[in-house]
Symmetry: C3
């Protein structure tokens, strides 16, 4: 259990980001270090201008999925960004933007919300991950 | 090879569930323990009322994908639920529903098909996984 | 860092394949062996007849994503197949087609582009992976 969990976040829909946030929070609660690497549409979702907006759901969610997620929001359950914020307070979580995806989306560090700790390349990601688990979401 | 394989199933389309079933069956055939954690649309697909229905394909499948999968069904190849059933007969496979997703989708244990062995939280999932491989599908 | 990275490629959109190519190239640059197992729509994308075509983007990419990716192509950045080609020149990368997916899509070895080294079953994939990281994309 002492090895790190290393999440490559690619998808930018609210349901996948919430799944990622729950996996992160659970690992943090167990004292398992978590390194997060933001690419493509997940990185786009962590922009200050977008982080608290509606990011849609996976296409398969359908109308029933939309109803379920809206009900959750009305019940006051934390959206994914808030789950990440709470998990970061437990410590041991590092969130890095992929430098190639920053270029692709023409983003600067100043465009990213405060949840993001920095920008790094894929090599740095692997060196931090070591032989820990790597999960692509 | 003796470490466990730990699958977080999120997606509920027939193609991804079949891919997950094949990875599960292959691991079981090699005697590798498999822990499965059902979230969101994958959990929804394991409801008794839905498990044997058509769950669609990933959007990228397109018309050609639909034709291929329909041909497979006509050829009598096992759909994913049957592949999971056969794999479970080999032993070493545990399928758990994510308690948070159960709440989100307003499901009770009685709503789930007999393939599902129980309901657990993300912490229990990590404790079972240990340092084994974690795969998100 | 000496353990292998084992990628199960399922998705056939250009953005996910590019993410997979970057993860592969980064691992190869660090001397980390990479085993790639092509299933479903990713396998379809590695056909000689399709490998250099447009494969679309994940549905969540939206119009802004399309603009970003088109701009990248105009800037002369390598599409995913070229990134895989360059990474293979570094050595340590083996790309295998899943035999079950070959049957599903009615493909023969001769249909696949030269990036693909062979066809194997899921058992061979696990035996090569050992206790290395497994990532599903």
């Amino acid at each position: 259990m002492d090895e790190s969990l290393n999440l490559v976040l690619f998808s930018g829909t609210d349901d996948k980001l919430q799944a990622a946030a729950v996996l992160t929070a659970g690992a943090a609660a167990l004292g398992k270090p978590v390194n997060i690497f933001l690419q493509y549409w997940a990185l786009d979702a962590f922009r200050t201008a977008k982080v608290d907006r509606d990011h849609g759901l996976a296409p398969e969610a359908g109308a029933a999925g939309r109803v379920a997620v809206d009900a959750l929001a009305r019940a006051g359950q934390a959206p994914w960004a808030e789950t990440f914020r709470q998990a970061k307070e437990l410590g041991g979580i590092d969130i890095q933007a992929c430098s190639l995806s920053m270029d692709l989306l023409k983003l600067e560090s100043g465009d990213l919300c405060p949840l993001v700790d920095g920008v790094e390349g894929v090599t740095a990601f692997y060196l931090n991950a070591g032989n820990g688990q790597i999960v692509f979401i």
